[in-house]
Amino acid sequence: MGNNQIDTARDSEAVRVEEGGAALNNGGLPESSDMYNITVRNCDLYYGDFQALKSVSIDIEEREVTALIGPSGCGKSTFIKTLNRMNDLVEGCRITGEILIGGRDIYAKSTDVTLLRKNAGMVFQKPNPFPMSIYDNIAFAPRTFGIKKKIELDVIVESSLKHAGLWLEVKDRLKKNAMGLSGGQQQRLCIARALAADPKILLMDEPTSALDPISTGRIEELINELKTEYTIVIVTHNMQQATRISDKTAFFLLGEIIEYGTTESIFSMPKDKRTENYITGRFG
């Protein structure tokens, strides 16, 4: 069992300063765009004394949609946050085991967390646009990574918004405050904002649970389009959604992955009784 102990973000940041140049190696991630599969081996995660993930192992294929389902509190959000190290921000969170993206350990000391997060964009349950203009929202990550020229930013803003299917709705009001958009538009803005960082992976934690059915439908279509280019991991509470959009499904229960396979097989012939109970609505 390969395990490396990660204590807090503070430690790794200290390390990053020491290692300087070596860490700029694309966040320890591969340069080539065709290796963004995710491999998790024996991952245990603790919040203080509470174990939220128990020996989780999973292989997530690139350019596929992988759905994470399970009753609330079973560790779906916790798991998805380990993939871009957002758990580093949680005090007292400890992880052991291995998480590899494109074969590289993202918890290795040489990993640049900011580049990891740039490469693995995250969309949250509640749309969280910044209270600034639509343009500034989309340009946020490119600016973080040193793109300052207006022409370059204009191109990124336009292509990201087009990618997220929002361009036609907002192209005449790019300078308006993003908070004025509807909930569904805000969520697509957040997707566009993540895409503007030029990620390879998209992590979505119940991205439609705060939205109406029409906005939900638009985002599902969008996910279908995006999966040709991105590795997508999505947490969903909604079984129909999982069957509509995902290629693979993992069923979580009490911090463990009970069953993982193609969405079709999970939903048509679950091997585990607990999976069957969950997807047929008998509990959770």
């Binding site: 871009n84 957002m86 921000l89 005090e91 900011t114 580049l115 990891l116 997060r117 740039k118 964009g121 995250m122 949250f124 509640k126 969280n128 646009p129 910044f130 209270p131 600034m132 203009s133 500034d136 340009a139 946020f140 990550a141 600016r143 973080t144 990574f145 300052k148 930013l153 405050n177 908070m179 957040c190 904002r193 993540a194 960082a197």
Partner: protein, 283 residues
């Protein structure tokens, strides 16, 4: 049974309501009495000689207006960066329940509760005596900065804590560093609260007298020549005129002070709202 309980509830409610209304009424009467009295006595004596004239045969508050401006500039220039910096450190860089944070929090709360005359003695002993500034606007301004610092820290902290966590997470998730998150998301989002608290601090500086009696010398008849020279302030002029046989001028200066402090408070509210509605600019 249920209906009776309900009626009892209503009765209890109306008693409370009457008590509350009476209390509110008394407060308003007291407030109006003070304001109207000062205005009535003071307004007839507000004139250009008092406001802008040279201090000679007749008194003038020109030195006090300039002195007050000096004090505001000095105290805010010192208290704003230190106060905002401390608040950022406390909310963004320390754990909310760490011993350091708790100690600093208790310290700021205690400092905020210290009577201002005690700050005055401190300023007198340190700046006037020990450091040899003599009576000076800079000594008074620094003392005022120390006095308003806890308030600035506390209210900035509250504004920072009010910034939703999901905005910070959103920024981190895009690969932003902590510094970028603080400067591009957290501080701008908190700006309305911070600006409001700074303007309210200006109001406190304007109306402070105890600190200044002991530190700036209350030289009412000379325009200050710079930060190092002694001076006076509006609140000190009220005291000086009142105790040196110029009751009308004292009331008139009171009117000026009142108008300025009320305007400052209105400005704080208006600007706070405007900034709260407005949008941030990145890049």
């Amino acid at each position: 049974m249920k209906a009776r309980a309900h009626r009892k509830e209503i009765r209890k409610y109306s008693v409370l309501k009457v008590v509350a209304q009476t209390a509110l009424g008394l407060t308003l009467v007291a407030l109006c009495a003070v304001t109207l009295f000062v205005l009535a006595r003071g307004i007839p004596h507000v004139n250009t000689q008092l406001l802008f004239g040279d201090y000679g045969m007749y008194p003038s508050i020109k030195p006090a207006l300039i002195g007050t401006l000096y004090l505001i500039v000095i105290s805010i220039l010192i208290a704003a960066p230190i106060g905002i910096g401390s608040a950022v450190f406390l909310t963004e860089y320390t754990r909310s329940n760490s011993r350091l944070t708790r100690t600093i929090r208790i310290a700021t709360e205690t400092l905020a509760g210290i009577p201002s005359i005690v700050y005055g003695i401190f300023g007198y002993l340190v700046f006037v005596v020990a450091l040899g500034f003599k009576y000076s606007l800079i000594g008074g301004g620094i003392t005022l900065a120390i006095m308003i610092l806890p308030v600035v820290v506390r209210s900035t902290e509250e504004s920072l804590l009010a910034v939703p966590r999901i905005l910070r997470e959103g920024s981190f998730a895009l690969g932003s560093s902590k510094v970028r998150t603080i400067f591009s998301v957290v501080l701008p989002c908190a700006s309305s609260g911070i600006v409001t608290s700074l303007i309210l601090a200006v109001g406190r500086v304007m109306s402070e007298s105890a600190v200044l009696i002991l530190t700036i010398g209350m030289v009412v008849n000379k325009i200050p020549e710079g930060f190092a020279s002694p001076g006076t302030s509006l609140a000190l002029d009220v005291y000086y005129f009142g105790s040196h046989g110029y009751p009308e001028q004292a009331a008139a200066t009171g009117v000026v002070l009142l108008v300025l402090v009320v305007s400052i408070n209105i400005l704080a509210t208006v600007l706070g709202k405007a900034l709260g509605r407005g949008e941030l600019v990145d890049g």
